[in-house]
């Protein structure tokens, strides 16, 4: 019976002479990983190479590095980091903390799905302000056949924001100043008009989407990268809450609106809740 194969355009290995299951050399998109990249490339350059298949220009490497730093830790108030801390505080496994951060940070409200949708919008609308204004004025449409719930707000904007926050402005200004692509400078120049059309301030996923487009990533690649790049903060906050312990972690107050009371209640065939 012939062996089944795995096709790949990314990775090439040569086995050790005495062991078919151990690689003697690994090449990534043609580059020798341990004989060349390890010595001459940075982590962020290697990350770019993995996704794009080409080495980044110095400007692209600086932009990806800046984006990675901006996204690395959204802080404990972020829902994905909160989820990771829920794992940490109970002594859950490290992987489960990161899986929790990935699951929550995947979402269309503040997460990787929002970045993907914002990138798709960026590709479809380009720098056509009229198209942006018309599209932003329309409410996002719910697709009942999609496993992703509708985001409820235009991707890239803060649904509860008052004005564009200082970290978002600082990130946008720095990344746009790296002069790498058209999306970030255009976003920087037209932010007030876009915010006016959306009725909401620009948020970090909007900046991340523009940066990822300028780096030449597809929306699917941008979604993956956003998931990856936000994991460091989730990891350290999960570890920190494990140290603090559950007695120092919020449990919050429940206000049960249909409490049957200590005596219980009979089960009806239909609960209107």
């Amino acid at each position: 019976m012939s062996e089944e194969i795995i096709h790949t355009r990314i990775w090439q290995e040569e086995p050790e002479p005495d062991n078919a299951f151990a690689a003697a050399s690994c090449h990534c998109h043609g580059y020798d990983v341990y004989g060349d990249l390890l010595v001459h490339a940075s982590w962020i350059e290697y990350l770019f190479l993995l996704f794009r298949g080409e080495s980044p220009s110095p400007a692209q490497a600086r932009l990806l590095e800046g984006l990675a730093l901006a996204l690395a830790n959204p802080g404990p108030r972020d829902a994905a980091v909160h989820a990771a801390m829920c794992g940490g505080v109970g002594g859950s496994t490290s992987a489960s903390c990161l899986m929790a951060a990935l699951a929550v940070g995947a979402g269309a409200s503040g997460g990787a799905r929002e970045v993907r949708l914002a990138m798709e919008n960026g590709l479809a609308r380009g720098t056509d302000m009229t198209l942006w204004q018309t599209s932003l004025a329309a409410k996002p449409v719910d697709d009942p056949a999609d496993v992703w719930p509708a985001p409820g707000h235009p991707p890239g904007f803060d649904p509860h924001g008052v004005h564009c926050t200082k970290p978002v402005l600082q990130t946008l200004a720095y990344l746009a100043g790296l002069d790498c692509g058209l999306s970030l400078p255009w976003l920087q120049a037209h932010r007030p008009l876009l915010e006016s059309a959306a009725g909401l301030p620009l948020a970090m996923p909007g900046v991340a989407a523009a940066a990822l487009l300028d780096l030449g990533f597809t929306p699917a690649q941008g979604e993956m990268l956003h998931l990856l790049l936000r994991l460091p903060g989730a990891a350290v906050h999960a570890l920190e809450q494990k140290d603090y312990g559950h007695k120092n972690f919020p449990f919050f107050r429940a206000e049960l609106e249909n409490d049957p009371g200590p005596a219980g209640a009979g089960l009806k065939t239909e609960d209107k809740s």
Binding site: T8, A103, R253, E255, A265
Partner: protein, 267 residues
Amino acid sequence: MKGPQLLEEYVGRLATRMGAFFPGERAVFRGHDLHASLKDLDWLELYLFGITGRRYTPQQMKVLHAIGNFTSYPDARIWNNRVAALAGTARSTGSLGIAAALAVSEAQIYGRGVDLRASEFLTRARNRVDAGEDLADLVRAELKRQRGIAGYGRPITSADERIAPMMALVREHGLDGGPHLKLAFEVERILLAGRWRMRMNYGALAAALAADFGLSPREFYLFSIPAFLAGMPPCYLEAAEKPAGLLFPLPCRVMLYEGVSRRQWRR
């Protein structure tokens, strides 16, 4: 109210009609005492009650149980099960492997993605047919729009071994007369008569039955999340019991490199 004022309203409290536990005292589940009035529900009944707030007849519960049972295959080659098994061979934990395998089951070509789209199509088609539209026209329009109909055709093989035993069970319990089920078979007849040659698969059958029992597409999607679960622990367990690394070991030669030629990084 909106913006930060709206958020302030929700700080530190959970307003809910779904439930809460009172430490050392009791737990409430959708307005009912979990340990008193819900104590006789089996696990799937409770799970469904949590999703829909409704109860189902004993006959419907038999079929709803079978929907999961008939598709729980302890075959570690299947992609989602393979995740659980790889966790075993890599000496990861059961929870991590099985949780990841369940997450992977939300796929586009099988599992939860198909469930939701199949249910949405069948419920939408039924509403339109009831309103006087022609089902064949709806099928053609859907094929044009989506290049396929969720629940029809199948990756790997066109035959579906789950259909006959499920239909036998459905007939046994007198539940084979529902409008969504009839419509699902009618869609298959249209697809087989045309040039598409697609048979109904288990996804459409399960979606049709659940729709006949009153589950909305979103409710059916949530109900289906553990559908493959029973097949996963055996995959994990066997891989974990064998010596580490023996599940699907891959020699270097199985990778067929199709990328660019060797080159040197800039100095």
